[in-house]
Symmetry: C2
Subunit: 349 residues, 2 copies
């Protein structure tokens, strides 16, 4: 029931997913208003054995506060979808609904994968020259301390290898320069821990804003404030340039003719930066798989969020992350001790 | 002598500035190796009465630490250029040299415009649909408290009206959402101060990453870490999309033919996002005008940095900022008191 368009985009997304990716062996539970959903299932010509409808009247509003949603959300479509994951009736949940409520209810019902993890992180798959870079956190947390940044590195690495099939993904921390003494304390500390080789990720050092789209590393780690600003700034830049391009290619008869002739090539390019193709941001760090779709996503975009959820559910992502987290506490103690020792006498400028 | 290319780009930049903007009444002091500079002046056919060469052998290296540059930099080309501003022999300094050294020496010689201002802020002119948005700080400071953010608002507003001729520029603070309770403490506090109307800027509220290129406001205020990441992320995104476009338009004979026909329109568009046309980031907050050019700028880009310096020097920017700063302290006390009162009983989530 969530998002700007409700069941039409959600059920349309199921159709888009099946059409594009085949949907072999994937079945769907659709939580919400039965009549509205049934109408959409019929309109999209979906086979009945693929879609099970679980009725509820209750809906979490798009502007409800997280605390309110936790108190009053029980039995809502959002709640029921997450609960199905908790009960093992579903292997993943996808929602275009209220992000804060989704995070709060997911945390409440599924719990965090490890003690000390405070909130899930949202990961974005960022299109680059070389494929996709995983960037996290892009907005679940406002500030992130050094330990959280290290956790993001572990989760991002597992995500990147599970969903994008990258073997031994490289990991970098987003900063304003590449030298060891650059940036604020949190990034310098996380950098010191990760570069010790004690944490089982392939850490390569600091990266800068331009490295994201360049694909310099497979995973970019950053706090939720910076990550959110970076993601939205990149989206705004892409929209601005696309707008200029459209303006240029319709600015006169010659431009229009040239555009017409080059159209197939231009369309192919547009698909690479189409927001639909990158829709679907998993909430990492939970005992279960929850994927957030953009509230304004199209059916095709929602289909992509479903693909991300299926890929994660079919991979060894959860096992891998749990294993790495289990090792993390011990490893952090050792690494922090080593880094403290190393920093003694070092001048910080 | 600074930047990746030294005198060839600096003197070439003078030529580019004169060719493009006329250079009426502007004269240049060129600090550095006389022989090298004289050769470039001759090569560019610049009239002798426009360029005064001030010789020095000493140069601040591109990787010298700020503290080192302050201790050892006296008499270097960078130092002498700033000193000329201090002595009133020049109205502005432009440098493509070491940013940290430029900041440190500028602060040492020119001093900050107001007590309590710790470091200059660097402002970027960001191309948008509606012209240019001033974004600051883009990297001079790592963290910025609420008071600094308010100061950025005042300096950015004066800059925007002086250089881009915007009357009563609108100002926004960069955040992860537009509601009052979003973001970390520093942005919420600065927001509370600015929205009281006590500070003399036209503040419209929080903006998000995508608002920068959309031109939602004329001035975007942010801490130096976030601003630096946002700027470099946008540059990376622009480069990535330009690369895709080039690839698409050379991907086959039809695409190439289309591109050829549409070329004049495409070139016009490329100029709007050309890094040269936005080169030149003033160091705001000093008693004097200092403009940083990108180290890798072309002569044309350097010419644009000169234009920014001339526009600032000819405007009432310094007077306006001083007047506003003089009012700021008194105003801040009132505004903070008012905002404290207003926040009592408000629930922060």
């Amino acid at each position: 029931m969530g998002g700007d368009h409700g069941p039409s985009v959600v059920v349309g997304g199921v159709k888009a997913y099946i059409d594009r990716y085949g949907g072999e062996g994937v079945r769907f539970q659709l939580h919400g208003d039965e009549t509205a959903i049934r109408a959409e299932v019929a309109r999209n010509g979906l086979p009945a054995d693929v879609c099970e409808i679980r009725h509820t009247d209750k809906v979490v509003g798009m502007d409800e506060k997280p605390a309110q949603a936790m108190r009053r959300g029980k039995g809502s479509s959002l709640w029921n979808a997450i609960e199905a994951v908790k009960l093992g009736e579903a292997q993943a949940a996808v929602s275009a609904g209220n992000t804060g409520a989704l995070m709060a209810i997911s945390k409440l019902l599924l719990r965090m994968a490890v003690d000390g993890l405070e909130r899930p992180a949202i990961v974005a798959s960022w299109p680059t020259k070389r494929g996709f870079t995983a960037v996290l956190d892009v907005g679940a947390n406002i500030g992130s301390d050094a330990r959280q940044l290290v956790e993001f590195a572990i989760m991002g690495e597992a995500f990147q290898s599970a969903v994008h099939g990258v073997e031994k993904p490289t990991v970098g921390i987003l900063n304003v320069g590449s030298e060891d003494m650059k940036g604020h304390e949190e990034v310098r500390e996380a950098h010191a821990v990760l570069r010790t080789d004690a944490v089982p990720v392939n850490y390569t050092g600091f990266v800068e804003g331009h490295d994201i789209a360049a694909g310099t590393v497979d995973v970019v780690v950053t706090d939720g404030f910076t990550g959110n600003v970076a993601l939205k700034t990149a989206e705004g830049t892409a929209r601005f340039i696309s707008g200029l391009l459209k303006e240029a290619l319709t600015s006169g008869p010659m431009a229009k003719m040239g555009a017409l002739i080059a159209m197939p090539a231009l369309k192919k390019m547009a698909r690479r930066i189409d927001p639909s193709s990158v829709n679907g941001g998993p909430l990492l760090g939970l005992n279960g798989i929850v994927v957030k779709s953009h509230g304004g996503a199209t059916a095709e975009g929602y289909g992509n969020a479903i693909r991300v959820a299926v890929d994660l559910a079919r991979s060894d992502y959860l096992t891998k992350v749990s294993a790495n987290f289990a090792r993390l506490s011990a490893v952090l103690d050792t690494a922090e001790a080593a880094s403290d020792k190393e920093q003694t006498g070092e001048i910080q400028s």
